[in-house]
């Protein structure tokens, strides 16, 4: 019992030390959804985002090229006519599949474009959250040159 408590104190000290030296940034301590970004598959990410599954929807448009020559810079855009509150981009074969997620606040439109890295040819999923439910659409993007060189 006492031994466990000692350990807890030690761990606590280490964590506060890490925080003070900047190893854990305030971004991580705050809003960054680490569980979702650590996810290794679409299902992992959905679970971390609080949903068991996502329904396919034709109302989501995923703007991305069919073939990306350079996997380090693949333009990906999501737009939807659904009243979305959250958007997410997932690259199925990346080491960590979730690339980015966005929160649509009052005034903003359900539209986003960014650029992501892709390690290899893979399905890309556009996720859209409406009223607590996730909808998804996907597209396969072929990559000629991978973006995660070792």
């Amino acid at each position: 019992m006492d031994y466990k408590r000692r350990n807890m104190i030690k761990i606590g000290t280490v964590i506060s030390l890490m925080a003070s030296t900047g190893l854990i940034s305030f971004a991580q301590a705050n809003e960054w959804n680490k569980a979702a970004f650590d996810g290794k598959s679409l299902d992992d990410v959905l679970k971390a985002l609080g949903s068991a599954s996502a329904e396919k929807s034709a109302s989501i448009t995923l703007n991305a090229p069919d073939i990306a020559e350079n996997g380090a810079v693949v333009p990906v855009g999501i737009s939807t006519t659904l009243p979305a509150s959250q958007l997410a981009i997932i690259v199925e074969k990346n080491p960590n599949v979730l690339a980015a997620q966005f929160t649509i606040l009052e005034g903003a439109q359900a539209f986003v474009t960014t650029r992501v890295k892709m390690s290899q040819s893979s399905n890309v999923y556009a996720l859209v959250k409406v009223d607590g439910k996730w909808f998804v659409t996907s597209k396969e993007i072929k990559v000629t040159l991978g973006g995660c060189g070792g």
């Binding site: 966005f102 539209f111 960014t114």
Partner: protein
């Protein structure tokens, strides 16, 4: 200190189109240096856009967002001459805030 980002906000038909180009290495944590050691992940984690001190758009980036990230979003309710304020924070706690006047 982080390098400045380029922000452009253009109003058209009541919708403001915001384009942001951030300057950041976005290190994935997958790469190795010459001696075989893994280079630690270093990426922008959070980005927030505000208009009139009100948040309109928020993003969370993982390591898979490209180097020097580009972001484009749109919102309603901004007028020409108003200021859009963009702030990002990376996973090492570095931060940068830049502004643009809506044109």
């Amino acid at each position: 200190m982080a390098d400045p980002m380029r922000v452009r906000a253009v109003e058209s038909g009541g919708v403001v189109d915001v384009k942001i180009l951030m300057k950041h290495d976005m290190e994935t944590g997958q790469r190795k240096d010459a001696s075989g050691k893994v280079i630690a992940a270093w990426h922008i984690a959070n980005i927030v856009a505000k208009i009139n001190n009100k948040e309109v758009f928020k993003g969370e980036f993982g390591t898979a967002v490209s180097k020097d990230p580009f972001l484009n979003f749109k919102f309603k309710g901004g007028a020409k001459g108003e200021e859009v304020v963009i702030t990002w924070v990376d996973n090492k706690g570095d931060t940068r805030t830049d502004k643009a006047i809506i044109a």
